[in-house]
Structure formats: structure tokens, C-alpha cells
Symmetry: C2
Subunit: 87 residues, 2 copies
């Protein structure tokens, strides 16, 4: 399935959250990740983030699609995640 | 069409960006908005944000879908946008 993940983590945890998400997804922008992911990895990813997060302070939103396809993605301004595709 | 918008604005502009996005969309979480939007309003929304944003510092990502349907949305942790649905 295709996943779009957006997170909002406290400063102390955001570096670790980024590292976890990049294991499974492409980093699109600051706090936005996307990619194809298996059901098993989706469960793993959520478990890892759950262990890390402070549920009183952090938040994650996960949009799942049976197959990729948002019709279109547009970016305005900085494309902070781009380095991910270059590396 | 259905739109998911995620933004990352500098502190000075984020309040205004929130206000603009809430005119057109539901506030789902901290920096995430979604909703049905007409093509005309989509153009207006982007124009308003373009006028506000500092393209060297801010960023916006827009996912558009012909019709609503992410299969599913899951939220972990805080649901910061919820107040929007209550008001």
C-alpha cells in the first residue's frame, strides 16, 4: 500500500523519528514522508514510533491508500526533503 | 477535488497561514489540513499562501485527488486540529 506520513515531534525526539521514518519511507519535506510499504513494515513503523513518541506532546497522521495515487503532488517554497532522493 | 495540505511556515507567518487554510479546509492536525475544494478555490488558496510565504524559509506540500479517498486516516498521539470540528 501507499503511505503518506506527517509527524509533529518535540525537539528532543524529532531526530530519532526522522531516522525511523527514513528506514521505511521517502522524506518528502520537513515533516512529511511517503512511499510504498508492506503491511508488515507498516506495523513495525508504527510500533517504533509509538515507543518513541510522547503521546501528550507528539502527533503523527497516517494516510494509507490501497495503491499509490494521489493525482498530483505540488510543492511550494523549500523542498527540504530533496536531499533524500539525491543521496 | 480532495486536497491534503501540509505546511511548514516560519513563526512570524504561521498564524496567518493557519487562518488562510482554515477558510478553505478542515484543520486536521498542527500543520495538516484537508477537504473538498473547487478548482477556483484551490487557485485562490495557493495565491493567498504564495503572497504570504517566504519561499526561502517556508514550504507547502499539496496532494490533490480527483475525489476523496485515502483508504484510511490514522492518528497517533495528539489530535491538535480537533477543536476545528467542535467550533
Amino acid at each position: 500500500m501507499f503511505l503518506i506520513l506527517v509527524y509533529d515531534f518535540g525537539e528532543k525526539r524529532v531526530g530519532k523519528a526522522l531516522k525511523i521514518c527514513r528506514k521505511y519511507l521517502h522524506w518528502v519535506q520537513n515533516s512529511v514522508f511517503e512511499g510504498e510499504i508492506s503491511k508488515a513494515n507498516f506495523v513495525k513503523l508504527k510500533k517504533e514510533l509509538e515507543l518513541l513518541m510522547d503521546p501528550e506532546e507528539d502527533s503523527i497522521i497516517l494516510y494509507t491508500f490501497r495503491s499509490q495515487k494521489f493525482s498530483k503532488r505540488e510543492i511550494m517554497g523549500l523542498e527540504k526533503g530533496n536531499i533524500d532522493f539525491i543521496l
